[in-house]
């Protein structure tokens, strides 16, 4: 248990402090959300309609941003080989690393979401819904992204390829997240069904993500 706690703390501190840390993701999120009105026009009614989708796409892109370094730094300095030689279950290492990564980069996005939703003119119920769905959905994005980070870990500049590989796999998360968030303020669309599907996807990615990423990492060693 002690090694798990220290691994989490180490990863969390690195995530917060290195390379601009947690703020850089939020900053990118802010930039993406800001650029949307310039593309589609400042019509507040339309922004309210597409606001949840804008926030979700911004969160997806911001999550993809930091994923390529998730395992790469560990592989470069040999930490990955040490994890493997120390006989730690790789699945657990991946899960802890993802948890720390999410706390350092995903959670700030969720916290920033209510503030940014003011820019896209969401009403209070919609703000709550979008924050809730992001809270449930961003761990799934991180864990699915970990698979992409695992299979591209040997590549020197795998960032773009990682995004191409991960985006198709993240489509269900996006669909159900946005469905639930927009359904909260709609009279006809059901809210609970997409929310439960989103929860199911997150739970599934807790299983598939660590196993797949750990298999990829075990085979990436030299």
């Amino acid at each position: 248990m002690a090694w798990m706690k220290s691994l989490f703390l180490k990863e969390f501190q690195l995530g917060v402090r290195v390379g601009g840390g947690a703020l850089i993701g939020v900053l990118f999120f802010l930039a993406v959300v800001t650029v949307f009105p310039f593309g589609v026009g400042p019509d507040l009614k339309m922004l309210a309609r597409i606001g949840a989708a804008v926030l979700w796409i911004g969160a997806l892109l911001a999550t993809l941003l930091g994923l390529d370094r998730l395992f790469q730094t560990d592989r470069e300095d040999g930490t990955l080989d040490l994890y493997l030689m120390a006989g730690r279950p790789m699945e657990l290492v991946v899960l802890i690393k993802c948890a720390a990564h999410w706390c350092a980069t995903g959670l700030p996005l969720v916290v920033a979401a209510p503030v940014l939703s003011l820019f896209v003119n969401l009403e209070p119920v919609a703000i709550g819904a979008v924050t809730l769905t992001l809270l449930i959905g961003t761990p799934a994005l991180t864990l699915i992204g970990a698979i992409g980070a695992g299979v591209t870990v040997t590549l020197r500049r795998g960032g773009v390829l990682l995004s191409i590989l991960v985006i198709p796999l993240a489509i269900p998360t996006l669909i159900f997240g946005v469905s639930a968030a927009t359904a909260a303020v709609s009279q006809v669309a059901p809210f609970k069904a997409p929310l439960l599907f989103l929860c199911a996807i997150t739970l599934m990615s807790f299983v598939i993500g660590p196993f797949a990423a750990a298999t990829a990492l075990r085979n990436a060693g030299d």
């Binding site: 040997t154 390829l161 191409i164 590989l165 269900p172 599907f197 996807i201 085979n219 990436a220």
Partner: protein, 255 residues
């Protein structure tokens, strides 16, 4: 002969040598029959007219695009579980073929959509799913291309392919959900005319022809990949041969 007798690439190559001419012949005959039926004997649809003939090219392509992915997933299990030496060759050879079938399905679907729906592209659930499948194929091909060591590339791709195989039904389901949410009424009703034998027989014939084509191309691509790896191994052997290293060391010493 079991699957494991084929683990020897040389034996596999000699099998391909023997089987390939028959496969090519069977493919040509099946296509000749299928295309003749599709374009001459199959009736016109009472709603869609002659454009229904696009279906004979379109539907088998979509089937085979999905079949090719399941073949890749099966090969990936072979790579990860049994470390079968030809499994990753098979997976690598299947990816571009599957991508080609997916592209063909998208292209013919788009050509069919123009007269039927009045637009080249409709965010129809099935078209969207095939588009996502196509993107996944391209991602897998890109990963094969970028990782240099074929063994490592094989392992990474096997993981990715299997994750994709688990995800594809979920993606299909979520796209269906999204589609019904956004456009309840589509112009084209899938349950319009029930399929009669006069349409079904040419369709199945074309499906057989496509399957034979897939097998032919897959065998050819696997053969090429084995040759490619042999060339790579030979190059590496000649590059690491002693004289070159000595020469280099000599130059460094002289400096």
């Amino acid at each position: 002969m079991t699957l494991f007798d084929l683990a020897n690439p040389t034996r596999f190559l000699s099998l391909v040598q023997r089987v390939l001419p028959w496969l090519v012949g069977a493919t040509l005959i099946a296509f000749a029959l299928g295309l003749y039926m599709a374009f001459f004997t199959a009736p016109q649809d009472y709603q869609m007219g002659n454009t229904v003939r696009i279906m004979y090219v379109h539907v088998p392509a979509a089937w085979l695009a999905m079949f090719c992915y399941s073949m890749m997933a099966a090969s990936s299990i072979g790579t990860l579980v049994w470390k079968h030496p030809l499994a990753d060759v098979s997976a690598k050879a299947a990816a571009p073929i599957g991508a080609a079938f997916a592209f063909l399905a998208l292209f013919t679907g788009s050509v069919w959509g123009k007269p039927m729906w009045g637009t080249w592209w409709e965010w129809d659930a099935r078209l969207t799913s095939v588009l996502i499948l196509f993107i996944m194929y391209l991602g897998i091909i890109a990963l094969w291309q970028t990782v240099e060591d074929p063994i490592k590339a094989g392992k990474a791709n096997a993981v990715l392919t299997l994750v994709g195989a688990i995800n594809l039904p979920i993606i299909k389901f979520s796209v269906d959900w999204w589609n019904t949410l956004h456009q309840p009424a589509s112009v084209f009703k899938a349950d319009g005319p029930a399929i009669t034998t006069s349409i079904l027989v040419p369709l199945l014939m074309m499906a057989l022809a496509y399957t034979l084509l897939l097998m032919t191309l897959h065998f050819m691509a696997m053969r090429n990949e084995i040759y490619r790896r042999r060339i790579r191994a030979m190059r590496m052997r000649s590059a690491s041969a002693a004289p070159a290293v000595n020469k280099l060391a000599g130059v460094q010493e002289a400096n």
